[in-house]
């Protein structure tokens, strides 16, 4: 569903992403992890067609993003860490607008269901300025899922959500994967990724360190087969070892 070959993004002399290649099949949830500045957000923005790569090929649902961006973008949704909304459109007007952009004919019933699932149905006439941060995030999610995308990118999806919202978001991600969507999640919350991801892709300094199932990369970077993702991450990225936890003062 997502095929990336030799993705490279340069800003002058600075290499943000360097020869990145990987693929994501339907039903897979790939966790994109790496230290700050590793190139995760740049990668996702290239995969969403928001910024053009310097080199490389990206295919979404069989459509080359450079050659046929319209067909590719119709299949995907990208959720940024900070919800981007139009300040002057109400919740319902946002859905109306997105329905026209993506050609979702039965958007009214789908939209109502989404708003009820996300528990913002009573805010349909509210402007974004009248919503809390978590509600804005939910509106952004409703807009992104309205056209039933087959490919979904999340950039720090849990920021600003309360515990119930976090639980619901995780359930939603798993449900969509079970329905055949290919999902990439970028997050620093490694325990979240352990719960929902089937595969992990570790980036450092714009380069891929490793990708594979959690078990595969655990085996490669740890003596123990049940090593946590956190431990594997630190080993893979050569970060300082974990400080031993214990009572303070002893």
């Amino acid at each position: 569903m997502i095929e990336v070959a030799g993705l490279t993004k340069l800003y002058g002399d600075f290499v943000a992403v360097n020869e990145l290649s990987f693929s994501v099949r339907p039903g897979e949830v790939v966790g994109l992890v790496g230290p700050n500045g590793a190139g995760k957000t740049t990668t996702l923005r290239c995969l969403a067609g928001i910024i053009p790569p310097t080199r490389g090929a990206i295919r979404v649902c069989g459509h080359d993003l450079a050659v046929d961006p319209i067909a590719a973008k119709k299949q995907l949704a990208f959720f940024t860490d900070e919800p981007r909304l139009f300040d002057y459109l109400t919740v319902w007007q946002h859905l109306n607008f997105v329905a026209r952009i993506y050609g979702v004919e039965n958007y009214e019933s789908i939209g109502r269901t989404l708003l009820e699932e996300l528990e913002i149905a009573d805010k349909a006439d509210n402007l974004p300025g009248e919503l809390s941060r978590g509600m804005k995030q939910k509106l952004a999610i409703a807009c992104g899922l309205l056209h039933s995308p087959k490919v979904i990118y999340f950039d720090e999806p849990l920021t600003g959500l309360d515990p119930l919202g976090i639980r619901r978001m995780k359930d939603s991600i798993l449900k969509r994967a079970r329905n055949g969507a290919a999902i990439i999640i970028s997050s620093h919350l490694l325990h979240l990724l352990e719960e929902v991801c089937s595969h992990i892709l570790i980036l450092k300094n714009g380069r891929k360190v490793i990708d594979g199932t959690i078990a595969e990369i655990a085996q490669k970077f740890s003596q123990q087969s049940d090593a946590s993702l956190e431990e594997v991450f630190f080993r893979a990225t050569d970060e300082p070892p974990k400080v031993e936890s214990g009572p303070i003062g002893k």
Binding site: Y11, I70, R84, D87, T90, R100, I101, Y107
Partner: protein, 586 residues
Amino acid sequence: MISALFYLQFNSVKNRTVMRFKRLKQPKYLIGLVFGAIYFYFYFFRFLLMPRGRMGGASSMANAIPTDPIFYESIGALILFGIVLLAWVVPHQRAALAFTEAEVAFLFPAPVSRKSLIHFKLMRSQLAILFTVLFLTLLSNRFGGAGRGLIRAAGWWVILLTLNLHFLASSFALTRLMDRGLSNWKRRVAVLLLVALAVGGVVAWAVRSTPELTSGDLANVRSLSDYFDQVMVSGPLPYLLYPFRLVVKPYLAADWISFLNAIWPALLLMLAHYIWVIRADVAFEEASVEASKKLAEKVAAMRAGNRGALTKFKKKRAPFNLQPRGWPLIALLWKNLINAGGAFTARTWISIAVALIVMALALRGTMARSNWTMLVGMFTAMVGAWALLIGPQIVRQDFRQDLPNMDLLKGFPLRGWQVALGQILAPTIILTGVHWLLLVIAVACACAMPAGIMRIPPLLALAIGAGLAMVLPGLNLISLLIPNGAVLLFPAWFQTGKDAPTGIEATGQRIVFALGQFLAYGLSLIPAVAAFFGVFLLTQFFAGDAVAVIAASFATALVLLAEAGLGVMLLGSLFERFDLSKETAN
């Protein structure tokens, strides 16, 4: 403790200034500064440097005004009194000193006394006051300062600092009254009653002591002025306004000796205010924390490019029903029309147009012999021409407004030209609608004008109206392509937030862009103008003026639409290549 606060203030100002100078390495700031500096010099600063008597019109204007000092003191005192009255009547919340979130986070939990916080606040406000003094001095010198720049500056400083202290003191006093259970409405009634008593006293004196005004006096500006003069300089009013006159006197001093005589009572009054402020023991911390939080939210929204957070958006009705089927770019038009406001619905425009046409036809019979038709027609034509040039700067519901949401737009499954056209359609329709309405008025006036030198034959007036109506959509489309292209080519120049230019750089940048835009607009009209004159000259010989105008306008409209079409494709291509992350990475 004061030394620590002074250290904070001094280094904040120093580092901010150094940062602004370092920023000048980037061409966008340097060019903005150069143009802004030139503008400010020619419009303001050179008047500071000119000696008395060499300012032509401004100086002769100053000489024509009455020179009784007590009259001007009373006027100035009245204005100050009005401002102070508002400070006692309007506020309804507890006193809140404006601190930044960082200042609240560091200073409020620190062992800093309330008095020290107030001193810090007063110290910080000095910079803002000095800038305001500079601006007001330049302004007052621009319009007849007669060369007393330094005296004016010192006078403004006295007025502004005293007002600043008074606002602070009055907010503390009002908070104390609130704490003692006096409601806002009771306080307002009490204050207004006191003012009413004073005004009543002045009126009673004026009725008893000054000659009654006749109806002839009321129609005579000189008599009214003399009456007003008498009330202002004699009777109880000058005494009632005495403290306010003390504050204004230094500003109005004719020379340095008068200034030195006037300054010491004003300084004593300032000192009294200072003591009043420092001795007030009012809890302002909670309200200040709340105010700082709101200020931080506004600043964060500005830095994210979200200007909407500065204004309260209201729910607006959609201009039409947006169906899920159809051209996707219409969704962008729909969105931007919602942003433009509820006035821009088809029903509203049609109603206004019908009303104007009916009005114009009804008035035709009555106004045909008056000069009003000519005046209204000319005025409307001038407004229309002005709207053609300046309209695109005012109606900005396009890429300029959606620059912070570019990621969102780029993620949509639309081609570049579709997004470009969708974005500029709304302002084009709005501007064209305004122009067509003005055109209806202008043509109706032209048809109704009485016979005379400037009368255009009705048939020709209608032909010109129809021709302009054909041409205006293309003109507006092209005029909007230019600033939108500039945003996509030079996004850094349009950036909001902490990197946004401010002050002189911002003014300079706007001047540069305005000049660039007018030049680009002018060049783009050359083919259209050539087409108009070519077709007009050919057709006029065979078919007369009216038909020639219509034919030429049609040809011009086609050329303009073709140019606009090319422009939209170019804008779309710019949009597809647009990469805001490249600007931030650089």
